[in-house]
Amino acid sequence: MLENISLNTIFSIVLIFCAPIIGGFLMGIDRKLTARMQSRMGPPIIQPFYDVIKLWGKEPFISSTLQPILAFCYFGFSLTSFALLALGQDLLLIIFTLGIADSCLIIASLNSKSPYSVLGGKRELLSIMSYEPVLLLTAISIYYVTGSFMVARIFYLSYPLISYLPLVFIALIPVLVIDLKKSPYDVSASGHAHQELVRGVFTEFSGYSLALIELGHWTKVVMMLSLVSLFWATNLIIGICLALVLFFIVLVIDNVYPRLDWKSMLKTTWSIGIILIIANIVGLIARVVMHI
């Protein structure tokens, strides 16, 4: 038993340090697939790593003295939140820790006096306002199934989470779209520069701070996809496939839908997302009541 736990812990710790690397590959795959959908060749899959290494060596320019510290914290707290997830900790705490990472990014973009960066920061703030309630409600609905907020408890279920919470799973799709900064909800920044926004929150980052931000973004993507994979935690291989399928769906959505403004983003998550989750919880409770 003790050996088992320590083995798991070692596995988790290895996983934590691999998270940014996995995220980098996912970003590479993202670029390749997107290119193929648009009938282009696309860069090699390890292109994101080349980018980051090159960024790291560039001559350092900053927009304020706080900026690199905050960029580092963004990466650090994304990683912390993933670490908490990998160690089977409290779901709410994981979401709140992710909130620290996001706050760092937003403060870093708002505190430079750059119009594009501030615009991006404001919209990133609205992105958080859109998806945080959905994430918290997801954690609460998971509690209704497992009777605990600990991630570790999800692994003890006899049926996968998705069989209890199918609607919650669907509600997570827009959250993932927002978090990966994909169309239609790439309001704060996106992979390619938009006229009114340039690179949004990322505009004022360059050199090593941008490299840190990239690493943070990768980690955050891995963290969100791991959250998705918990929906089939009874067999983690299927769980990971589920996350990858959702990742692919998000890419397709990105290439199919044009951008929408922040109001429609907020409306989608605060209405459809929340209604789906509530419907699911009510259904869950009804099932329990009828069973009795």
Binding site: F61, T65, A71, I107, S114, E132, F149, G207, W270
Partner: protein
Amino acid sequence: MDQELLIALTIGAPTLAGLGCLILNDKIARKVIVSLSAILLIGSSFILFNGGGFSYEPNSILDTLVLFFDLMLLVYFFYVGIKFKNILVIGLSLLQLLPVLYFEFILHGVEGTPTFLIDELSLLMSLIISIVGSVIVIYGLNYMDEHEEHLHIQKSRQNRFFFFMLLLLGAMHGLVFSNNLYWLYFFWEITTLCSYELIRHDGTEIAIKNGITALWMNLIGGVAFVLTLFIGYYYFNSIAIDEILKMYQSPVVLLFLAVLSFAAFTKSAQFPFNSWLQGAMVAPTPVSALLHSSTMVNAGIYLILRIAPALNNSALSYSIALVGAFTFLTSAILALNERVSKGILAYSTIGNLGLIFLCIGINTPLSYASALALLIFHSVSKGLLFLCAGVVENRVHSRLIEDWEGLIRRLPATSIIMITAMLSMFLPPFGMLLGKWVAIEALSSSYYISSMLIILLLVLGSAATSVYYIKWLSYLTVLPLDGKNFESEKIPWSYVISLLTLFGLIIIMGTGVSSVFNLLILPTLPSNYYTNIDASIINLNTGIGSFVTYPLWLIIAAMVFFGYTLSKRKGGTVKPPYLSGENVVDDPTVFHTTADGIAKIEVSAQFFENEFSNNRLLVLSKILGSIIIMLLFFAVML
């Protein structure tokens, strides 16, 4: 030491010190008196806290005195109503004066012994009031000098200011120690008097107007109190709160509790009674700080904390939670469009009080614990925020957050303290967020399908809360591009003491969360409230989740340290922002615009005035709030 003496000290010392300040209108005498009474107050509340609970019956002469002063007070309110020709104040004071006369002189009152009943809850409240309250009064010593200088006041009016500030501290102690409803009512009315006098202190037109608003809104609560006296007389033949709370949960008991909760909502400024606390921001900053953090508004919270055990599983309890949840969400949304710094803080206070009511209303042991945690952490953080806002206001001479841009350069020390206080309001692992976390876990585990609605209001409100705080604090960190260096800042000693005390408390209580739970919160839970909370040094375990505290603090320290080291090592030159290549050489604050013009870069803060108007939302939420408050009385009938 004698516990009776300590009670007399906690109530009497501030009151006497206040009288001293009133008579000796002198700068040095005031400093001595205020510092002495602060030391006495904090000392005696600490000793009381260590001593534990007891009951005490003072001399019956005091009963007569209380009656006498209470009548004087009501007559004074009546006089204020006549003077300012305010029909509401006249009506509401008469509605108290006549019934009280009838109650005392025709019905000859009723027993309510013991007059003072002190338990862990009152002791905890006393600790909060005396520590945070004293710090704020000490801060006021310097602030009022600056304030009067700024307003060019020749003859100092600080004597009446400090009299009412200190009287408020004494009255709050009386309020949390009283078990006799009549005494409680008396102290309740004194806090109303103090808030009215303090809000109108500056004597400007708006100050008097807002003072009157505060007065009549709080008088509604007083009327509710008088009603409870009569219920006590006719149905229970007692006005001792502990006895009534022990009674079988009959409709009359529920009505009694509903009326008390109604009074609590007026004092704690829940919708639709929010406007008095909003208006209180015209007063000098120490007043807002005192009213918002540790006194006034906490009186309402205390009352509901007191009656919560008698409410168990009633519809009434659920409606209290609903009032709180509604207020929490609405005030967070209203704060998004607020431009005045103190206005944002006021909405934040109203919202957090709502959150605390929500937790008490859910009424499980876990949610009761979270209510206490929120109460403690909120008092300290909000007190500090107001004190910082006051310092800034006296330096910058503006209350608009847009004028506070780049404050970190002009007032680095104050800004850093203020930013920490803001972070402590919404980010982990600070206490407020920890309290919210316990609240969410408590709500989820309360297993009512109806609690879903409350959870929903909570998560939406909490998202909006982060938005307005992040917006504000990043505004403080904006560095203007003119390349000037950080300025050094001179802070007077009384500011240093008060700011650092509260700042230290936030950090100590934040890092030592497990001790806060073990020493302050868990012993204060009512005896039949059993929780699984296990506060160890590494994490706080609720039985259904665990909050990693220490490791998270270490991680934060490590992040800041390594981030700082990295930024020092890599360095980097500060470059002007990206402006589509239209930058002007040598001046980073402007850019080339059309027709070879040159324009200044203007970046505004985020408001949502196109999306919704605060005035309309306020009207709407007052109507909705009134309907929800009416639910209290419907809930009694269920």
